[in-house]
């Protein structure tokens, strides 16, 4: 009686009923102590380049993600995207069970089925499908998942495309051309005295922002070194450009000639390494005269004097490093640009040296590297094959080509030529929405795996991913819920009596594959974790989040500098008043993290805009065109048009406009669905002529005011004035 009275009284005071109960569980797990937290090490999969993280787990729930102090790539640091991983784990729109399409494709009518049912349906549909007709599209996969996928494609003879919208094909080709390397080298910013970057937004989204951010911190101020100098050359004032000592505007696509012009200055003034100069110019046979700064100045828009100054600084402040990538690579002459930029490194003699370009060794135990992306050319071939009904089955995992490919509506149309589309996504992204069967995979915090960072820190590293929490949908029972992607592939192989060749006899599941991998590492008997028996090695690896061997460095031959690419290539681009510069905003990456509310609400560093797709335009130009902030502007390319809200600011050239990537998802859950516009959809399918990579920076567009006005949500003040710290009370400056 007293109890109920208390309950009534408490209910009246608004105490939720659950707080009046204490559940005594059946059995208490050993490590679950109420109110105590544990930090488990694993690998972040939200960023394109995996970093080591530790996850705070309390009472079986992941609470907070922080950088893993031991992990060599990020040394305890992380970024906003990694931090938001907990939201992807507990996202309200996660798919909790296998789904089968009931209505027409793309209609969005689904029915839950059991795993066994789903897998057998796929198996029956796959009968009679030849290996060629089965295509696997995934994000670039490294580590053991990569080897499982490889053995699956081997077993079936099917094609495997590793797709990401902002592919690194050009960068990898350039690294191969210039340095002869198969894996990405590490740019050793922290020890460099001078950094010269062409288009690589390395502090924000390019390759491995956390690793470069860490380096940048030391580059600016660290014990026992002078403050480094950093010059950034790009067509838009990106976050990285904003942090440079000098931002130099270059016309999109002319980074290569600019770099060659600098090379010419260095060579002419005799500032470069003699051996490298001889090799680069083929003993003087290569004629660089056309790259005289006065000529280049006219085409690139950079004053000749500035070119000489920068070349001079670059050559004299050593160690210096030149980085090329990002928008510099995103033109039809992308490879030429990057080759020219990376060749500069030879002139200052920093190749495979501290403070320069440090080569990475091949990963141990034959693991695949994690960032071999397929080119856009291959993807559009796939699209054509789909349209021609040459593809019978399409497996998609962690990739969203129907969102990220230019003219995605055509790709989506082409998908009607495919009999069976299976998506392994745990979230209704644009591609999953077109699937026939959805087999939701575990969130990365619930899953096993390994990762080979690319670029690595200069030595061999294998990161280990372990489930830090039990699968969230576990309570739905074994027949529903989520599963590991590798396990599904293994099961499929078994059912179709095409078993995958797994390393070892009693290796049955993906976890076993990972454990077997650890066994091989244990067999190497070197590196960060050493122990007498495998059990404690395994525990050590999981505790520290991975295995690495600081001694295992690149020991191949020093490359000879290739000849400078002296025949200049003009970037090809369409017509239109403005060059379109798509860019990664701080949170949304290439669109893969758009579904997380923290990242949607994360102010973009430059515009502080949130939740929208906006178009950055020069403030003077906007005034000319009578465009104010928040005006709905139609951005039209020959491939179509999108609407975006104008954001005029002074950090962009009057002949370019910039649009963030990540908006305009057709699926993806409540936080991203039909929010903003997809800039990929208006890109012209131009490619780099050597690598077939998408030239995503080569589209030209025109702007038109629609006359509508929508408030652009952003963190800075409401009026479109320019925020300026006039009295320097907020940010005082010093000249050092």
């Amino acid at each position: 009686m007293g109890g109920s009275a208390t309950a009534v009284a408490a209910a009246a005071c608004g105490v939720p009923e659950k707080e009046l109960l204490v559940q005594a569980p059946l059995e208490m797990p050993e490590d679950l102590v109420t109110g105590l937290d544990n930090w488990y090490a694993t690998i972040d999969r939200q960023n394109r380049n995996g970093i080591g993280i530790v996850v705070r787990v309390m009472e079986g729930r992941a609470k907070k993600i922080e950088g893993n102090v031991d992990y060599p790539v990020n040394v305890g640091k992380h970024n906003a995207i990694a931090d938001a991983g907990v939201q992807s784990l507990y996202h309200p729109d996660r798919i909790s069970a296998p789904l089968v399409r009931t209505g027409e494709r793309g209609e969005g009518n689904w029915e839950e089925i059991s795993w066994t049912d789903a897998v057998s349906r796929i198996a029956s549909r796959l009968e009679g499908v030849s290996g060629e007709e089965l295509v696997l599209v995934t994000s670039p996969i490294g580590g053991h998942m990569g080897s499982v996928v490889n053995s699956f494609t081997d077993a079936f003879g099917s094609t495997h495309l590793q797709y990401e919208p902002l592919e690194r094909t050009v960068l990898q080709a350039s690294i191969k051309n210039v340095f002869g390397q198969d894996v990405m080298p590490d740019f050793d910013i922290e020890n460099a005295a001078y950094v010269l970057s062409f288009g690589a937004d390395f502090l924000n989204g390019w390759v491995s922002p956390v690793r470069f951010g860490r380096g940048y911190g030391d580059f600016r101020h660290a014990e026992g070194r002078e403050r480094g100098t950093f010059t950034h050359i790009e067509s838009r004032l990106s976050m990285t450009a904003a942090n440079a000592d000098d931002w130099i505007y270059v016309k999109p696509g002319y980074e290569g000639v600019l770099a060659l012009s600098m090379a010419k200055v260095i060579i002419d003034e005799g500032l470069g390494d003699d051996a490298a100069v001889a090799s680069l110019t083929q003993n003087g046979t290569n004629d660089l005269s056309q790259f005289d700064p006065s000529n280049v100045s006219a085409v690139s828009g950079v004053p000749a004097q500035r070119i000489r100054e920068i070349a001079h600084e670059f050559a004299t402040k050593r160690p210096a490093v030149a980085i090329g990538g990002g928008s510099a690579a995103a033109h039809t002459n992308g490879l030429f640009n990057l080759n020219a930029v990376h060749s500069l490194n030879y002139l200052v003699g920093n190749v495979n040296k501290k403070g320069g370009v440090i080569f990475n060794p091949m990963p141990p135990i034959g693991l695949p590297v994690g960032s071999r992306s397929s080119s856009f050319q291959q993807m559009s071939t796939l699209s054509d094959r789909m349209a021609n009904r040459e593809v019978k089955a399409l497996f998609v995992r962690e990739a969203d080509p129907f969102y990220g490919m230019p003219s995605s509506s055509e790709v989506r149309k082409a998908s009607f030529g495919v009999d069976l589309i299976v998506s392994f996504s745990g979230q209704f992204d644009d591609t999953t929405a077109m699937a026939d069967i959805v087999l939701p995979e575990h969130n990365y915090l619930e899953d096993w795996g390994t990762d080979v960072p690319d670029p690595g820190p200069g030595y061999q590293v294998v990161g280990f991913q372990q489930p830090v929490v039990r699968p969230f949908f576990e309570n739905r029972g074994g027949h529903l819920g989520t599963k590991n992607f590798g396990d599904v592939l293994i099961t499929l192989g078994e059912i179709l009596s095409n078993p995958l060749s797994l390393p070892g006899d009693d290796v049955k599941t993906f976890k076993d594959v990972v454990e077997q991998g650890a066994r091989s590492l244990y067999g190497l008997n070197r590196g960060s974790v050493k122990s007498d028996d495998f059990r404690s090695f395994w525990q050590g690896v999981l505790q520290r989040g991975g295995w690495w061997d600081t001694g295992a460095r690149y020991d191949g031959p020093s490359p000879t500098p290739p000849a400078l690419p002296v025949s200049p290539q003009e970037p090809i681009s369409g017509s239109g008043e403005f060059a379109l510069v798509p860019f990664e905003s701080a949170g949304l990456s290439d669109g893969r993290t758009s579904d997380l509310p923290w990242l949607q609400a994360l102010p973009d560093p430059i515009s502080t805009a949130v939740w929208h797709t906006w178009v950055e335009i020069n403030n003077k130009k906007a005034e000319e065109m009578d465009i104010r902030e928040g005006d709905v502007v139609e951005v039209t390319s020959p491939r179509g048009s999108i609407k975006a809200l104008a954001y005029p600011h002074p950090g962009i050239s009057p002949d370019a406009v910039a649009v963030p990537i990540g908006g305009g998802h057709l699926g993806g859950g409540r936080y991203s669905k039909e929010r903003g516009s997809n800039v990929f959809s208006i890109l012209e399918p131009l490619t780099d002529d050597k690598t077939g990579a998408l030239a995503w920076g080569a589209t030209r567009v025109s702007l038109r005011k629609t006359g509508d006005w929508v408030r652009l949500s952003k963190f800075e003040n409401t009026k479109p004035d320019i925020s300026e710290d006039t009295h320097r009370k907020i940010i005082p400056l010093t000249n050092g």
């Binding site: 963190f715 800075e716 003040n717 409401t718 009026k719 004035d721 925020s723 300026e724 710290d725 006039t726 009295h727 009370k729 907020i730």
Partner: protein, 458 residues
């Protein structure tokens, strides 16, 4: 200067008790209107309790808006009562007689409105506002922070409310006795209780008069302190530019008197129009109050001018940015113009004309204008100050009140109207005994060749 209209005491009783003993036809509709507005405001308040302060237009950094404006405004209005009653009583201004009670009652109800505006609807968690207003928290052992002007506020306002309520009650006693003797039944019993056995004996009269004078003297410091303290709500702040000014206390007090006395003038006109008390509130009275208003308004304008001098003298960039915003940027610029004209440049020159001073209509219009202007003045101090264009230009923001907020603002006005109406139904709004005393004081007799007052004041 006063005209001689001698009225018999019977006439006075009949005239002035009309509001209590009879009900004019407009009374119920008028009351209904105010109650309706009040109820709408209360439902808006209920909605706000349910949803949170988000339903207002407030934001970061404009954390204070219409509620605080209203609080300051009603504290300002409330200064009329003491100004008229205490100061004019002590200075023996004869023309105060018919308006003292109306002014005091206005004080009481506007103070209640002020309390409604600030601690009640202003705070984020009104249900915990007791921690602030009645902060005697034995259970937790945590007390109030006496360094905060927000702690001084309730004590000052409560003191003022107590004093003015006492004022009203003491002055009411003889009139209540009169009503008691003119009513029967339950009503008589109620009034008998309230009249506290007043029988008009000389001793009772003496006590009543002394109490009035004593209260007048004692309440004067409160009168000065209340609005000083309200001004310190702003003046102690270093955050918003242009608030931390030493001139604020006297500037606020004189501004309060300006708006308060204007409100009383408005009320006088309304009383004449509503009950036809033109024999009691004559053009002479309006003339007198308008002359007073000219002085008050000009004194206020001087302080307003001084505030600007202080700002322009230092030329602090942050403050100048805020001033620029206040004066040159839309919509503040035109609000500023409206404020200047309504609060000073229209009414004061008009009051210089005798015709305006003695006209019911024009006095009504000009005094209403003054209060529109004074409301805007507070708005222009609070909101642009908080927008803080100055240092953190990165996150300055604008503000406009939401409908819900305006409903609650209207509620506080309706409360005053409602209160006044109900009060007139229960009590006479013009003190009968005071008028009679005035009549007696006005009797003149001829002694020899000289005409002298018939009675000598105590």
């Amino acid at each position: 200067m006063q005209e001689h209209v001698q009225l018999t005491q019977k006439q006075i009783n009949e005239d002035l008790l009309t509001s209590v003993l009879g009900t004019p036809r407009w009374w119920w509709p008028a009351l209904g209107f105010f109650v309706l507005v009040f109820l709408i405001g209360m439902s808006a308040f209920g909605y706000m309790l349910n949803q949170g302060v988000g339903v207002t237009g407030l934001n970061r950094p404009v954390f204070w808006g219409a509620f605080m404006v209203n609080f300051v405004f009603f504290i300002g209005i409330s200064h009329a009562g003491i100004m008229i009653s205490a100061i004019l009583r002590l200075t023996q201004a004869e023309w105060r007689r018919p308006i003292t009670r109306a002014a005091e009652v206005l004080t009481v109800f506007s103070l209640m409105s002020a309390l409604m505006a600030a601690p009640l609807v202003h705070v984020g968690r009104p249900w915990r506002a007791d921690l602030w207003v009645f902060p005697y928290d034995f259970a937790r052992g945590v007390w109030i922070n006496i360094r905060s002007p927000f702690v001084w506020d309730p004590s000052a306002v409560m003191t003022y409310l107590t004093a003015s309520t006492l004022f009203v009650l003491i002055a009411l006693i003889p009139d209540l006795a009169i009503i008691r003797d003119r009513s029967t039944g339950l009503k008589r019993k109620l009034y008998a209780g309230m009249a506290l056995g007043f029988r008009g004996t000389p001793r009772q009269w003496k006590l009543q008069t002394i109490a009035g004078i004593l209260l007048s003297a004692l309440v004067l410091p409160v009168f000065v302190s209340v609005h000083s303290i309200v001004s310190w709500d702003f003046a102690v702040q270093i955050g918003p530019e242009a608030w931390h000014s030493t001139i604020f206390a006297p500037y606020f007090i004189i501004g309060a008197i300006h708006s308060g006395v204007s409100a009383v003038a408005t009320l006088m006109v309304v009383m004449v129009w509503a009950w036809g008390w033109n024999k009691y509130i004559t053009p002479d009275h309006l003339d007198a109050i308008a002359r007073l208003l000219i002085i008050v308004a000009t004194a206020w304008f001087f302080f307003f001018f001084l505030e600007w001098v202080f700002a322009l003298y230092t030329l602090e960039p942050a403050e100048m940015a805020m001033r620029k915003l206040q004066v040159f940027e839309s919509p503040w610029s035109w609000l500023f113009v409206v404020f200047l004209f309504t609060a000073y440049f229209i009414p004061v020159p008009m009051w210089l004309f005798r015709g305006v001073r003695r006209s019911l209509f024009w006095m009504f219009v000009t005094t209403i204008l003054v209060n529109v202007g004074m409301w805007l003045e507070r708005f222009l101090i609070i909101v642009p100050g908080l927008m803080r264009r100055s240092e953190f230009i990165f996150d300055w923001g604008s503000y406009h009140p939401s409908i819900i907020e305006l409903a609650m603002v209207a509620m506080t006005f309706a409360w005053v109207g409602m209160g006044m109406l109900v009060f007139t139904k229960v009590f006479p709004l013009i003190p009968l005994f005071d008028i009679k005393e005035g009549m007696v004081g006005r009797d003149e007799i001829r002694i020899g060749r000289r005409i002298v007052p018939a009675s000598i004041r105590e």
